[in-house]
């Protein structure tokens, strides 16, 4: 039993579950304060999400739509956890995601490209965003969080300007891909049939999962992964051991940017959502990615499940009774979960310390046979002298 608790993975899993339970509990308390009469139902709806529908077809369809938005979130969380393993806090993922969205939509709507080149362009543009942060960090010692935030806003305003060229006349949204350039929509490969047709499920979801596995392999099983992690643990030691620590930092942020940018393409090239050209704040996808990355215990496979969970409650937020509560309650719960994730390292440390102390106590409580054995060996030692 104790062995199970000593397992790193099990500890992370339990910690994440505790964070979720505590986050939901605090969310519930907030709802109680706002209006006690419907709080239980509201928190229930947040957790149930598409299960609130009674018809099976509607459930499948909405499950599919939750998955569609999980793919970009997973990409953002992969971006953040990859960089975090290398000691970099890539809060710029939000801006890189925006850059990727912008590039893919612009190529699709203005230049009429197909889906694959659109996706590749998104990756390249977003990687450039990452590289800027990387160069500033490696050569100018600029804190990556601050430069990342600045680039988020620069990216947002640039995107609004560029995409205004292809927006609908009557609304602030960009035009539908299905109307303007159907070739740029990601292929479904029959996946949407699984979810009762009439939804936007595409190859985006398998792509995201495959990349999660790929990131895990790179981090844990390749020389590159070890080098990057070594740079993150101690930049100077890595340099001393002959690694190009500056290049590693820039390279990491380029990968981080590429992942987040691909996330943008994986959402907007499904036509499930359109860009609002009057957006006045950076989309929350990149920031929720932070929640997903830490809730998943900074493990790429864990991130698959945590991303789904975060997206599940985000969509669930829209099912609360809007005449009493606001849908932002799910943003609040996600933020509380991130805050609680900050404690995980400390709690794990304290727990392991406690386990070790238990062990020590046991070591000192010798049984009679053991004491005899020790005494015997001492006597023998004395004789041989």
């Amino acid at each position: 039993m104790k062995k199970i608790f000593r397992n790193e993975g099990v500890q992370s899993f339990i910690a994440s579950l505790l964070c979720i339970v505590a986050g939901l509990l605090i969310g519930y308390i907030v709802l109680l304060f706002i209006n006690p009469s419907g709080a239980s139902e509201a928190i229930g709806n947040v957790i149930k999400n598409f299960f609130t529908y009674s018809r099976d077809t509607l459930r499948w369809k909405n499950f599919g739509n939750t998955l569609v938005k999980t793919a970009p979130l997973l990409m953002c969380s992969l971006s953040i956890l990859f960089c975090y393993k290398v000691g970099l806090f890539n809060i710029g993922a939000a801006g890189q995601y925006v850059a990727g969205s912008c590039a893919s939509l612009y190529a699709a709507l203005v230049w009429g490209w197909g889906w694959l080149p659109c996706m590749l362009l998104a990756i390249v543009v977003a990687a450039v965003f990452g590289v800027v942060v990387g160069i500033l960090k490696a050569y100018c010692n600029v804190n990556e969080v601050i430069s990342g935030i600045m680039l988020n806003w620069i990216g947002l305003y640039t995107t609004n300007t560029l995409l205004s060229q292809v927006k609908e006349e009557a609304s602030p949204y960009t035009e539908y891909l299905s109307v303007k350039n159907p070739a740029s929509i990601l292929p479904t490969l029959g996946l949407s049939e699984l979810f009762g047709k009439d939804n936007k499920v595409t190859i985006a979801i398998p792509i995201a999962i495959v990349l999660a596995v790929a990131i895990m392999v790179i981090l844990n099983m390749t020389k590159l992964g070890y080098e990057l992690k070594a740079t993150g643990l101690n930049k100077n030691a890595a340099k001393y051991a002959g690694m190009a620590e500056k290049r590693n930092i820039i390279f990491t942020l380029a990968i981080g940017g590429a992942l987040a940018g691909l996330g943008g393409a994986l959402l907007y090239l499904t036509d499930a959502e359109r860009w609002m050209c009057t957006a006045s704040s950076v989309p929350g996808m990149g920031f929720n990615g932070i929640a997903a990355a830490f809730l998943g215990g900074l493990n790429p496979i864990g991130a698959i499940f945590s991303s789904y969970f975060i997206q599940h409650i985000s969509v669930g937020g829209s099912h609360v009774d809007l005449t009493k509560y606001s849908s932002e309650i799910s943003d609040l719960i996600a933020a509380i979960i991130i805050y609680l994730c900050g404690f995980v390292f400390f709690v794990k440390y304290a727990f392991n310390l406690w386990l070790a102390r238990q062990d020590n106590k046991k070591d000192h409580r010798f049984t009679k046979e053991e004491t005899d054995a020790v005494l015997k060996t001492q006597q023998k030692g004395g004789e041989s002298k």
Binding site: V142, I146, T158, I290, E328
Partner: protein, 316 residues
């Protein structure tokens, strides 16, 4: 002429915001804690101030209104910053992660609270806007074409106080020691935990004041869904550019405030309007400038040596 006055007015008010918040960051970092949650603290401070203006200040004389709003905003900021203190000082959490969480939580909590208040008043209109037209008048003084805001004066007063406390008092010097070498400070009997708590709470107060100042800068109502548009981070850039020194922070804030103000009033200048640069470029200006400035100044940064490292008594 009126445009120049307007530019001056906006420059001064935005510079006041940035000075206040950057001083908050300065105190926190000098004590050894990186406060990336300033953005969230600003939002919560603004929320406290806005609600105070809407509910507490009805019919109060102007002086009392100002004092009430200042007190409530600062206290909201302090209370919120305590969340950072618990996590980063006592539980040794990752300061970047907790700061980010505070930013997200600030906007989400403010939106939820304001929407709850608005829906309770009228279920058909769930908006996240607080309106405070009446109380705002207490803060503004018309001097011809120039709209003087009391916050401009408050920022200067706080700047002077912050400078004196940091460099001329025992408390300030001890706090700075905790940011440079906490073990050494502890060895001469200074409680590092207490000093760091002091730094974080003071930064909460300044951040909260900056927040209410920000939403009072322009319009007479505020939509809390929008947060404070990265101003908390701009303030951190100001702090770095100001080399963690109050007097330089004020100068840096004027520079950044100028570029932020330009995006409000550029269309009033004939020669700028004739250049036909899209408005978004001016919107981006403060962020681009701060990137450039950071690129050139961070190399020889004079950051407190122990900032960002959780203090562990048993480490030497």
């Amino acid at each position: 002429m009126t445009t120049i006055l307007l530019l001056l007015q906006y420059t001064l008010i935005f510079a006041s915001v940035l000075t206040l918040v950057a001083l908050g960051g300065c105190y926190s970092e000098h004590s050894g804690v990186i406060n990336l949650g300033l953005e969230g603290i600003m939002v919560i401070g603004a929320l406290g101030g806005a609600l105070a203006m809407k509910y507490l200040c009805i019919g109060l004389p102007a002086v009392l209104t100002i004092l009430t709003v200042l007190a409530v905003a600062a206290l909201s900021g302090v209370a919120y910053a305590a969340l950072l203190g618990v996590a980063c000082i006592n539980l040794k959490a990752d300061q970047t992660l907790v700061g980010t969480a505070l930013n997200m939580m600030g906007v989400a909590a403010a939106t939820v609270i304001v929407k709850a208040i608005n829906t309770a008043a009228n279920p058909n209109e769930p908006s996240s806007t607080v309106n405070y037209v009446e109380a705002k008048k207490a803060f503004v003084l018309k001097l011809g074409g120039f709209e003087f805001n009391w916050f401009m004066l408050i920022a200067v007063i706080i700047l002077v106080i912050a400078y004196v406390i940091l460099y001329k008092t025992k408390f300030g010097l001890r706090m700075m020691a905790c940011g440079e070498h906490p073990q050494a400070a502890n060895s001469v009997g200074i409680s590092v935990y207490k000093m760091r708590w002091a730094g974080v709470l003071i930064s909460g107060a300044f951040g909260g004041l900056g927040g209410i100042c920000y939403i009072l800068a322009g319009v007479s109502e505020w939509k809390f869904e929008n947060g404070v548009a990265g101003f908390g981070f701009l303030a951190l850039a100001v702090m770095i550019f100001g080399q963690w020194k109050p007097q330089r922070i004020a100068l840096a804030a004027l520079l950044f405030g100028f570029f932020r103000a330009l995006s409000n009033v550029y269309s009033g200048f004939g020669f700028l309007a004739s250049l036909n640069i899209p408005g978004t470029v001016y919107n981006m200006m403060p962020y681009i400038i701060s990137l450039l400035v950071l690129a050139f100044t961070s190399k020889k940064s004079r950051a407190p040596k122990a900032e960002g490292i959780p203090y562990d008594k048993s480490m030497r």
